[in-house]
């Protein structure tokens, strides 16, 4: 322990600066309670985004603009936008709810959000009646979709996001392959005119020929080098295990008694995906999927994926800056059944809100006057019938000027939606999802797994979590 006398003089000036800084900070700490500016007597309504569409970087400015315009349009409500990363959103929202500091409006929120927080939402029925809110512009079936037994009308329909195949036409051209069919039920026609049913098997063959290594060999070639793949044939973009498996048909990990189950066709789907990643190499595995070559998960946008299966929202979240040419295609069938999974988003009000009337006013604005702009931003098909006309023209004009994209495929896919939903509820939802994610990590990252055994283990783990509920 030594002291250096020369330091003492030098320290004084620094210490004085420190003291001044500290005093300034003390002043700043007067408004410690976190930015609640008491200047206006407007009611603050917090709008939480992240449980569905809307947390992707390119959609943020449009949402900020809606908030700005709303705040400028009236003097009673101060709308505050909170956008969080979709991965973190359930954690953040659950903390907020637990601390009694929840937002007022949550949305757009998928079915998954509803499953995560059962019972947290305000029954809108009295507000609809009180305000004489006109529901005739919605499909009554869609309104009822958000009417939950014992919870009431927990949301109003906002947008639907059908899924379809995104096809990179340049990569098909490069390989000299004809494009997949855009009509459900239509066959795939080979380069030599042979017709094949548009099913998983045909799609697998195409995908292998569209998977290419750095030397230009495709995945069917004996020279193909799986260590240096530069382009993949197929991938289910931003999809968890339940979403992926739904390509083979809808299902659920929960059986009628509330016990864990692995549907048989989901087991087949898992085996197919696993082989596609690790032996046939036409689906990006974890290491490739996380790499920059495939845009760290946003695979199709990278231009290095020939066919991607995902929802309508992907077009606006991620495809606006795409440099190549792309189009839609039908989802291939499995075992004679076609399933095009559906995302449906709503706006809901948290049951704990202190200002339900103002929140309802904002909600009706978001699904009313702002719906046209918001659905275009999020890429959802508007639930309002009056907005569906010309919707795809607007999306096309806003994001894909000069491109000829066949949106009918998206609309037609709505006849093949998944029921039960791949985002449906599970007992002890967050922990059940964590267990599934753990399996999914091994599935995507480790070679040489015995998938049937892994699924057995998953079922046992899920049973434990379900039992604890």
């Amino acid at each position: 322990m030594r002291t250096t006398p020369s330091l003492r003089g030098r320290g004084i000036a620094a210490a004085r600066a420190v003291a001044i800084g500290g005093a300034a900070a003390l002043l700043a700490s007067a408004c410690l309670d976190g930015g609640s500016s008491g200047a206006t007597d407007r009611v603050e309504i917090r709008w939480f985004v992240g449980m569905g569409a809307g947390s992707d970087a390119p959609t943020i400015p449009a949402q900020e603009k809606i908030v700005e315009e709303f705040n400028a349009s009236q003097d009673d409500i101060e709308l505050v936008l909170e956008i969080v990363d979709a991965d973190q959103a359930p954690n953040i929202l659950s903390t907020q709810i637990a601390t009694g500091d929840g937002p007022d409006i949550v949305g757009p929120m998928g079915i998954r959000g509803r499953s995560t927080f059962p019972g947290a939402w305000l029954d809108l029925t009295p507000y609809i009646e009180e305000n004489d809110y006109d529901l005739t512009d919605f499909d009554p079936a869609l309104v009822d979709f958000y009417r939950i037994e014992e919870e009431g009308q927990i949301g109003l329909p906002f947008a639907v996001f059908p899924s379809f195949m995104y096809v990179n036409l340049d990569l098909f051209d490069e390989a000299g392959l004809p494009y997949p069919p855009q009509e459900y039920g239509a066959p795939y026609v080979d380069a030599d005119g042979t017709e094949r049913p548009w099913d998983i098997e045909t799609m697998t063959d195409l995908a292998k020929r569209l998977t290419v290594d750095a030397d230009g060999n495709d995945a069917t070639s004996p020279d193909f080098d799986p260590a240096n793949i530069v382009q993949f044939g197929f991938g289910n973009v931003f999809a968890d295990i339940r979403a992926q498996s739904t390509l083979f048909g809808s299902g659920s990990f929960v059986d009628a008694e509330g016990n864990a189950q692995i549907p048989e066709h989901w087991a087949e789907a898992q085996q197919w995906y696993y082989d596609g990643m690790w032996t046939a190499h036409f689906i990006p595995n974890g290491p490739y999927g996380d790499s920059d070559m495939l845009n760290a998960g946003s695979w199709f946008e990278s231009g290095n994926l020939a066919m991607g299966n995902t929802h309508l929202w992907y077009a606006t979240c991620c495809m606006a800056g795409f440099e190549g040419t792309w189009d839609t295609a039908a989802v291939p069938s499995y075992d004679g059944t076609t399933t095009a999974k559906l995302h449906a988003d709503t706006f809901s009000i948290l049951g704990d809100t202190e200002h339900p009337d103002e929140a309802f006013q904002v909600l009706t604005h978001l699904i009313g006057d702002a719906a046209e702009e918001l659905t275009t931003t999020y890429g959802g098909m508007p639930a309002r019938i009056s907005l569906q006309d010309g919707y795809f023209d607007r999306v096309g004009a806003a994001n894909f000027e000069g491109q000829d994209i066949n949106w009918d495929t998206a609309v037609d896919g709505m006849s093949y939606v998944d029921n039960p939903s791949h985002e449906g509820g599970m007992p002890n939802f967050l922990e059940a999802e964590a267990v599934i994610a753990e399996y999914a990590t091994r599935f995507a990252q480790e070679e040489g797994l015995d998938i049937p055994a892994e699924l057995e283990a998953l079922k046992a783990d899920l049973q434990v979590v379900f039992d604890a509920a």
Partner: protein, 353 residues
């Protein structure tokens, strides 16, 4: 003793010079490896999105050269021609085994059919730093707000902890009282206690008080001194000659006055060092802000803000790196300016934070 340098002395001198050169060079190499990620971060932060995602991209922020042909942006490749020379051609129509190119120098002469696999060709690139990434990151992460809250947090807690720790340290340094040894040992032991063990009840209480979602749970405990700081300051106070205090006491000053008039001015170097330690610690703090501010994203400090940002923008690594570099700029600059005080401070107090 003045003699001609003997042969041995010359040899020793030469040997020392050689050792010096080798050691310094080795240290330089080591420092280069140690700081390499910073260079990578800077280079990548200046790349465009394509430059980041291309596995064969160059190390520096280059972009593939393109050529506009019939309304389309075409990439330019170095193409080995059958006659043995390599030409820089724009790829019009890629194909598996043969592709169509055009010569940007002479587009009028029509397209060129080339046999071979275009994927094996090298793209032609040019240096093209994207300075705009920084302003984009600055705006999207709302850097001014993050910085404001971080500074508020760091400076407020710095003031609180330094003042309270100095008071406590003086108590331990200069006053004899029963149980002093045991209490000081207890204080030291809190350094070794994992904070996790107190977290659940503290969180539950702060939750009840409505403090979760505000800075209060992070700031208020700093009013009650911190073991590290107390230890450092006490060590320093012990080195201050007692005569100074005795002189003040003879002048009739009480312990508080003595502390303020004699000890504090004498201990400024240590107080400064402790302040700086705390400032950097608070700047870095992640766990507690993550826990207590969860859900109030508008006021998180920079570390938590960065981690949220990297979640939303995870497919844009160049922006993440630009934001990371912005976040490290201020502390590194402060450190460079104050480094003498800082490093001496560690030596003075003998221990780091």
């Amino acid at each position: 003793m003045t003699t001609q340098p003997t042969e041995a002395a010359v040899r020793r001198k030469r040997r020392n010079l050689l050792f010096s050169a080798c050691t310094t060079l080795g240290a330089l190499l080591l420092a280069a490896i140690f700081l390499m990620p910073l260079g990578y971060g800077a280079a990548t932060a200046l790349k465009d999105k394509d430059g980041v995602s291309d596995p064969n991209a160059a190390l520096l922020p280059v972009s593939a050269l393109t050529y506009e042909y019939e309304g389309e942006e075409l990439d330019i490749f170095a193409v080995p021609m059958p006659d043995g020379q390599t030409r820089e051609l724009a790829l019009v129509e890629p194909g598996r085994e043969s592709s169509v190119f055009v010569d940007p120098e002479n587009p009028g002469s029509g397209t060129i059919e080339w046999e071979g696999r275009w994927r094996t060709l090298d793209p032609v690139t040019g240096l093209d730093p994207q300075w705009g990434n920084f302003s984009e990151a600055w705006n999207t992460i709302d850097f001014v707000r993050l910085m404001g809250w971080t500074l508020m947090y760091a400076l407020t807690t710095m003031l609180f902890t330094v003042v309270s720790s100095a008071v406590v340290a003086y108590g331990f340094a200069r006053f004899r009282f029963p149980g002093r040894g045991v209490l000081f040992g207890l204080l030291m032991a809190t350094i070794l206690l994992p904070p996790a063990v107190t977290l659940v009840p503290k969180y539950a209480v702060f939750l009840q008080m409505g403090w979760v979602g505000t800075y209060l749970p992070l700031i208020v405990p700093q009013l009650f001194a911190n073991a590290f700081n107390v230890f450092l300051l006490r060590q320093y106070f012990l080195t201050i000659p007692r005569e100074l205090e005795e002189a003040a006491r003879i002048d009739g000053a009480g312990p508080i006055r003595t502390f303020l008039r004699v000890i504090v001015p004498q201990a400024l170097p240590a107080l400064t060092a402790v302040s700086l330690f705390h400032f950097f610690y608070a700047w870095n703090d992640f766990f507690e802000p993550l826990l207590y501010l969860a859900g109030n994203r508008a006021i998180v400090p920079i570390g938590v803000g960065l981690s949220y940002f990297s979640g939303v923008y995870n497919s844009e690594p160049h922006l993440i790196l630009a934001a990371a570099i912005l976040a490290l700029a201020l502390p590194v600059v402060i450190f460079l300016v104050a480094q003498r005080v800082f490093i001496r401070g560690i030596v003075v107090t003998g221990v780091d934070k």
